[in-house]
C-alpha cells in the first residue's frame, strides 16, 4: 500500500518519496492516477509540489516521463501507418482499372514493392511534417465518428451481444440484458458512463482523460485498457476482470477504499445487503488471478466476447454479415464494388474495430462509426 503524505508535507519529504519519484518519471499508470488525485486535494500547496517536481527532474537529469514518451511513440506509429496507407491508396487507384480475380495475386505482389517509409530514417521532425501533409490530403476516414450522437443509452435486451463504439473510439460490448448510459456531453475529454449488467470494454488510451465506469457498488477508473465488468443489480457478486493496462476500482460503500488491478487479475466483490458494524472492505473484496488454461488461450471471463474468425476468400458482404451477427452491431455497406472485395485471413480475439482495420490493410475501404452502427464505403 502506498503511503500518501498529508497536508503538512514538506518539500524534502515529497522529493524523497519513492512513489512521487515514480510519478515524476511517468513510470506507471498507478502512480499517475494516485498523485494526480492527491494533488487535486491540495490546490493551495501547488507551488511546493512544483518545486519538488523541479528538483526531482534536475536530479534525474530530465529522463522524462515514460508515459508521455510512449504517447509520442504511439502517435509516431499512427502517422507512419497513415502515411503508408496514403501511399497504398494511391497505388491502388492506378492498379484498379481492370482487375480480374487472377490478377489480384499480381497486384498483391506489386504492393510489396511500393515505396517504403524512407523518411523516418532521417530527421524525425521533418518526417512528421511530411506525414502530416499527406494526412491532410489523403486523410483516411478511420474514425470519423459522427458529431451528433442523439442516443445516450444503449441496451442489449435479449441479444447475446451488442457492440457500441463510443465517440472517443472506445469499444463496449454489452452482454445479454445489460445497458450503458453515457454521461451528459460524453466526448473524448469527458468519458463517464453508467453500467448495469455485464460488458467488455476496450478503452481508447488517453492518459490525460480517464474513462470512468460507474456501477451500483463501485466506480472503475481507467486510462486505456481492456477489461470485463459484471455488475447485475440483482446479483450478489460483482466482478471486474482486467486483460490489459491498469484499472482502479473505488468502492462506493467504503469511501476512500480502492483497489488497483494488474493485467490478468480479477476483483470479485460480494454484495452483502447492508453495511453492518463488523463489515470490512477486505472481507468483501477479493483479488484473484485469471485462470490460464493452456487449451483455451482466452480467459473464461472474456470468452463470451472473443472468437476466432476464419475467412477464406470471402466477399466483404459475407464477412460483414458474420461480424454483424457476432458482435451485435449493424453494418451497412454502400457500393456494389466494395461488397465484392475479397479477403482471406484468420482473426483471433480481436475487437470489431481491430478486425476492420486489419481488413483495410490488405484492401482499403473507409468506414464510419456511429454508436451501434458501422457504415462501410469505398
Amino acid at each position: 500500500m502506498i503511503q500518501m503524505p498529508g497536508n503538512d508535507f514538506d518539500v524534502e519529504e515529497l522529493i524523497c518519496n519513492e512513489s512521487f519519484q515514480e510519478y515524476c518519471l511517468g513510470a506507471s499508470l498507478e502512480h499517475q492516477i494516485l498523485w494526480k488525485e492527491w494533488m487535486a486535494k491540495y490546490p493551495d500547496r501547488k507551488e511546493y509540489i512544483a518545486e519538488a517536481e523541479r528538483i526531482v527532474s534536475i536530479l534525474n537529469v530530465k529522463q522524462g516521463s515514460r508515459i508521455e514518451q510512449l504517447k509520442a511513440l504511439r502517435s509516431g506509429l499512427t502517422q507512419q501507418e497513415a502515411f503508408r496507407s496514403a501511399i497504398s491508396l494511391k497505388s491502388d487507384i492506378s492498379f484498379k482499372s481492370e482487375i480480374s480475380s487472377k490478377e489480384e495475386a499480381l497486384e498483391r505482389s506489386l504492393k510489396v514493392v511500393r515505396p517504403r517509409w524512407y523518411f523516418y530514417l532521417g530527421s524525425s521532425a521533418a518526417a512528421i511534417l511530411i506525414a502530416m501533409t499527406f494526412l491532410y490530403f489523403y486523410k483516411p476516414a478511420f474514425f470519423e465518428v459522427k458529431k451528433e450522437q442523439a442516443l445516450v443509452r444503449f441496451s442489449s435486451g435479449k441479444a447475446l451481444r451488442k457492440t457500441i463504439i463510443l465517440k472517443d473510439g472506445s469499444v463496449v460490448t454489452l452482454a445479454k440484458e445489460s445497458s450503458i448510459r453515457l454521461g451528459e456531453g460524453f466526448n473524448s475529454s469527458n468519458r463517464e458512463i453508467w453500467l448495469s449488467g455485464a460488458a467488455f470494454f476496450d478503452v481508447k488510451h488517453d492518459a490525460t482523460h480517464p474513462f470512468v465506469v460507474h456501477t451500483t457498488f463501485n466506480d472503475i477508473k481507467v486510462l486505456g485498457t481492456t477489461f470485463n465488468v459484471k455488475a447485475y443489480a440483482d446479483s450478489a457478486l460483482m466482478e471486474t476482470a482486467l486483460i490489459q493496462g491498469r484499472v482502479q476500482v473505488a468502492s462506493k460503500k467504503y469511501p476512500g477504499y480502492f483497489v488497483v488491478l494488474k493485467p490478468n487479475q480479477k476483483l470479485s466483490m460480494l454484495n452483502s445487503p447492508a453495511k453492518t458494524a463488523i463489515s470490512k472492505p477486505d472481507a468483501e473484496y477479493r483479488i484473484s488471478e485469471l485462470k490460464q488454461n493452456p487449451a483455451a488461450p482466452v480467459p473464461e471471463e472474456i470468452a463470451w466476447v472473443r472468437k476466432r474468425l476464419d475467412i477464406d476468400n470471402l466477399p466483404l458482404s459475407v464477412i460483414a454479415q458474420r461480424l454483424q451477427e457476432w458482435y451485435g452491431i449493424t453494418i451497412t455497406i454502400s457500393g456494389e464494388e466494395v461488397k465484392n472485395y475479397r479477403y482471406s485471413g484468420v482473426f483471433e480475439n480481436e475487437t470489431i474495430l481491430k478486425t476492420l482495420e486489419a481488413l483495410q490493410l490488405s484492401y482499403p475501404f473507409h468506414f464510419e462509426v456511429e454508436g451501434d452502427r458501422i457504415y462501410i464505403k469505398k
Binding site: E51, I55, I58, N60, V61, R74
Partner: protein, 183 residues
Amino acid sequence: MGLGEDDHNYWEQMRLGDKQALFELYNRQYFQLIRSGLKINADDELVKDCVNQIFLNIWDKRERLHPVENVRAYLMASLRHCMLDQLSYLNKTNAALSKMLAEEEWNELSYEQVLINIQQDDDLKEKLKIAIRQLTPRQMELIQLKFFEGLSYEQISERTAQTVKTAYNTIYDAIRILRKLLK
C-alpha cells in the same frame, strides 16, 4: 524465466507484428536507454528523439529483422548509431568528435557532468556546481543511485551495506542542502 528471455520473447512477438509487444519492450528498456544515451551526450531532447526513432524504425522493418540474442545490447547499439548520425548531421564540421565517439572507447560522462551539462541555464549550472561541492561523496553516490539509476531505498541499502533508514536519512539531508542552494 530471466529478464533477457522475456525480452527475447517480446522481440519475437514483435517481429510477428504484435504492436503490444513493441510497447512492452519500450516500457522495459526506456529508462536504461535514456540513461546510457545521456552519458554519451547530455542533450535530453536528442536522446528522447533517438529512443523513439529506433523503436519506429524497428517497427517499420519488423518483417526484415532477425532474431536477436541480446535485445538490450541490440537496442543500445541502435541508440548509439542513431545519436551519432544525428550529432554528425547537426554538426557536420565536428566530424572528429563523431569519429572519436564511433570508436568503442569513448569516455562516458559522469553523473555529475550530465547533471550540469543537461541544464541550459548558466545560472543554474553554477548553482549545481556549488551544490555538488557541498555534498559529501557518500551523499552524491546515494543521490545518483536513487535519482539517476532509479534504485529503491531497499536496493540502495543492500548495495551500500547500510540500513534503509540510514540511506533515506542520508538522501533526505542531501535534498535539504540542495533545495536551499537551488532556490
